[in-house]
Amino acid sequence: MEKRVSSAAVKLVVDDVPPETRPDHGEARRIAEALLFASPEPLSANDLRSRLPEGADVEAILDELMADYGPRGVNLVRVSGRYTFRTAGDLAFLLARDVVEQRKLSRAAMETLAIITYHQPVTRAEIEEIRGVATSKGTLDTLLETGWIRLRGRRKVPGRPVTYGTTPDFLNHFGLDLIEDLPGLEELKGAGFIEGRAAAGLSVPVPSDADALREDEDPLDAEDLLALPNLEMDEPTDDSDPAADE
């Protein structure tokens, strides 16, 4: 850190020498390793860049670290566009003892989550159409509680129903870098089950967890943000339907 050099000097170095052989490359790598290990949250390449000596080749460092940790018990992985260390997936069965009893999602909740994931942005009515059954408020509340789904906006149709989508936490939890990495997405798309339904007439890719609203989405109303957990309360869905899930 004492080695701050002027930007101009760095430029010179960057142009002339391959990154691995630059004198401070090893040090920058150690710093990146330490930052990634220490951070409770995944870090973006930019997060790292701002903490590394000026001119450090962050991409090269990350590639090296990923390759280096690849065969180890701890891997450097990319989730939600950020980098973090995780125990190797193949060791799950050995580490399972450490699991603090997690609440298991009901089948209905898991299905609803999958529909939101693959069809986002999606409204409650659309979820219900696919499942053929009313979705209880409890199911959506449970999912909101996990932090994996969020209210995105309101669809520009009569009734202005809320649209749901997934969060970066969802990607973190399921170890996905991008929403496009969802398992089986290609098959579903190929079978024509994904695109077109939600955004009829709009040829936009589904799913999308991009922060930017779609053309057919309005921002949430002010009171949506205040009353988040109870938002669904007054939507015109018959929750008393005995066929409702759970």
């Binding site: 220490a38 994931t117 053929g132 098959e187 089950f193």
Partner: protein, 267 residues
């Protein structure tokens, strides 16, 4: 999904009637579409080759059986049954010439598509659930070392602050001494009150010092009592309430009520 539980005793009776043993626990299903999907699975064929007609018949059989058992079926199961009955009749009749309405085979295809879509999303849900999950299969660092914010205090103070603090402090001390002093003052008002009480029952000359003794128990009070009493005396003499005399310089003062003006009266 809960395994479909055959109603065993009933199933025997049903079988006697030669009907398919497809009695299932309605509670295990999440709506008519779910039931249809399960029935389709039982056809043990690819969903693409599913016979919607056969499926419709099985569904109707199920609903019929449930009704016979007086099971209360939710409305949407019955709505689906009515629709399937309609579809079945359309499928069995010769196709009418192309009209406004969708053909029976279109309707059947749409239903098949819905089933396939539900099946697909179920598969997706399953695969999602099977993914390595954080905190269940893979783990983040157990003891992360979050960045500590180290606050370094930088004190600011000006010379003005310093000087006014000093002055404030020193004056506070000084003023407190003055306040103590004040308590030792016998005010003019107090002196006058005392003299008026004295004058009230004074028949003859009285030595002022003697009368004032009672106010001078504390030696520190002596100067202030004497000074205030003299001032008050002179004031009362001027007003004509009191007469005062002194036999010689520094001799005791004598007082008497009334406005008599004898010769010597200065101190």
């Amino acid at each position: 999904m809960a395994e479909p539980l055959p109603f065993e005793d009933v199933a025997l009776a049903e079988r006697a009637d030669g009907e398919p043993a497809l009695l299932v626990d309605v509670d295990g299903f999440e709506g008519p579409l779910d039931l249809l999907l399960e029935l389709a699975r039982r056809q043990k064929v690819d969903l693409h080759k599913i016979s919607i007609l056969a499926l419709a018949e099985q569904y109707l059989t199920f609903v019929e059986a449930a009704r016979r058992l007086r099971l209360e079926l939710a409305a949407d199961y019955l709505v689906m049954a009515a629709w399937l009955a309609y579809l079945k009749s359309r499928l069995l009749l010769p196709e009418p010439p192309k009209g406004e309405e969708p053909s029976a085979s279109d309707l059947a295809a749409a239903l098949a598509l819905r089933l396939k879509r539900l099946e697909a999303i179920r598969e997706a849900a399953k695969r999602l659930g099977e993914r390595a999950q954080l905190g269940r299969d893979v783990f983040a660092r157990g003891a992360p070392e979050p960045v500590q914010i180290r606050r370094e205090a930088q004190y600011g103070a000006t010379l003005y602050d310093l000087l006014s603090a000093y002055a404030r402090q020193r004056q506070k001390h000084f003023n407190s001494r003055v306040t103590l002093h004040k308590r030792q003052v016998w005010s003019l008002a107090e002196a006058r009150d005392a003299l008026e009480r004295l004058v009230g029952h004074l028949e003859d000359w009285v030595a002022l010092d003697g009368y004032l003794m009672q106010y001078m128990v504390e030696p520190a009070m002596r100067p202030t009592v004497l000074a205030s009493a003299l001032s008050a005396t002179l004031e009362m003499v001027r007003e004509g309430h009191l007469s005062v005399r002194q036999d010689s310089p520094f001799a005791p003062l004598w007082v008497r009520s009334g406005s008599e003006r004898p010769a010597p009266a200065e101190a």
